[in-house]
């Protein structure tokens, strides 16, 4: 997976900092996480760091709820994102998962 600065900011203000924070909070490099944390506080605010940590923590959990309960994507969302999912290869994930066992 493309990571860090190579991802860019996706056209969103401070997007690169938030992407770096997401990667760091799920990683095991404490120094990187400390730098990512400090960068958000410096460029944005302490409140932004708190909210970013909240969102990151919540999605780290909700991903597990979705995956462990086999929750399917809503039909409307699947239809809306069909071309994007095909283009970036996400549709392959389910097929690969089916071949795991």
């Amino acid at each position: 997976m493309t990571q860090g600065a190579a991802v860019g900011d996706c056209g969103i203000p401070e997007g690169a900092l938030l992407i770096d924070f997401a990667e760091a909070i799920l990683g095991d490099n404490e120094a990187r996480l400390a730098r990512a944390r400090a960068a958000i506080v410096s460029a944005m605010s302490s409140a932004a760091l708190v909210d970013a940590a909240g969102v990151a923590g919540l999605f780290n959990a909700i991903d597990r709820v979705a995956d462990a309960t086999g929750t399917p994507l809503e039909e409307a969302k699947a239809a809306d994102t069909a071309s994007l999912r095909e283009a970036i290869g996400i549709d392959e994930f389910d097929a690969v998962r089916a071949r795991l066992e």
Binding site: M1, V7, C10, I12, P13, E14, G15, L18, I19, F21, A22, E23, I25, L26, L33, A34, R37, V41, M44, S45, S46, A47, A48, L49, V50, D51, A52, A53, G54, V55, A56, G57, L58, F59, N60, A61, I62, D63, R64, V65, A66, D67, A68, T69, G70, T71, P72, L73, E74, I90, F93, D94, R97, A98, L100, E101
Partner: protein, 242 residues
């Protein structure tokens, strides 16, 4: 609880939501008593250090490797297998694995409550990590027995675990099924109190339901776009395609 040790001021509503979650974690749930909920939470924290899970994570298929988990010795082996897989490699769980967990003796209701306990601890511990705080000690288990309430409307739908369809809820769950339908809000509804509690966290760590699509106003110190970018990156790393 979290803001007591944080150098960064935590919103009062968020600290209160964490306190409610910690209080519930200590108490008897719907299918697990307080001590078992605490043991599940402790095992979830312990799982990232498991050598078998690390080998499976590195393997092309995690189902190729047999072995014994580095568990804490407080729960049955099938519970430890379930907890460790969900914590360490959630993106490669399969329906066949879910069915094996049930066949091993874990009831579907227990399964959903265990998932919920893992999710609560993951949300709060990851938040603490983001702020550079130590994780909070788990609460002391409280006495009492589980309520054993299974909503009669819960049935097998498209998801692996039974749940309540959005337009099929009964009177007892009418408070929960408000707002626009979303499959993820149905995910834990086999155990409605767990669904309520987890989505209480969602409302404070992420956003309340009505705020999610109110793009005319920002509710947090980061914008809707920044929130979704961050959330999307977390889910991509976890290989969650929901």
């Amino acid at each position: 609880m979290t803001d007591e040790v944080s150098p960064y001021p935590v919103r009062a509503d968020l600290a209160a939501a964490h306190a409610r979650a910690w209080d519930r974690l200590a108490r008897a749930g719907t299918w697990l008593d307080g001590p078992h909920r605490g043991r599940v939470a402790a095992e979830a924290r312990h799982a990232p250090g498991c050598a078998l899970c690390a080998r499976r994570k590195a393997a092309l298929s995690p189902y190729e490797l047999e072995g014994t988990h580095d568990g804490r010795g407080e729960l049955p082996g099938n519970w430890i297998e379930m907890i460790h897989r969900i914590v360490t490699d959630p993106g490669r769980l399969t329906h066949a694995w879910y069915q094996r967990m049930l066949a091993s003796g874990i009831a579907d209701t227990e399964y959903v409550e265990i998932v919920s306990v893992i999710a609560h601890v993951t949300a709060i511990d990851t938040f603490a990590r983001g702020l550079g705080n130590p994780v909070q000690p788990l609460p002391a288990p409280q006495p009492g027995g589980p309520s054993r309430y299974r909503p009669p409307e819960a049935r097998q739908n498209e998801a692996w675990a039974p749940n309540i369809a959005w337009d099929e809820h009964g009177r007892n769950e009418a408070d929960y099924f408000a707002g626009p339908p979303a499959n993820i809000r149905r995910a834990l509804t086999l155990v409605p109190d767990e669904a309520r509690s987890f989505f209480d966290l969602v409302g404070h760590q992420y956003m309340p339901g009505p705020a999610m699509r109110d793009f005319g106003r920002e509710y947090r110190a980061i914008t809707h776009a920044q929130i979704e970018l961050l959330a999307g990156r977390i889910s991509a790393i976890n290989q969650c395609v929901y």
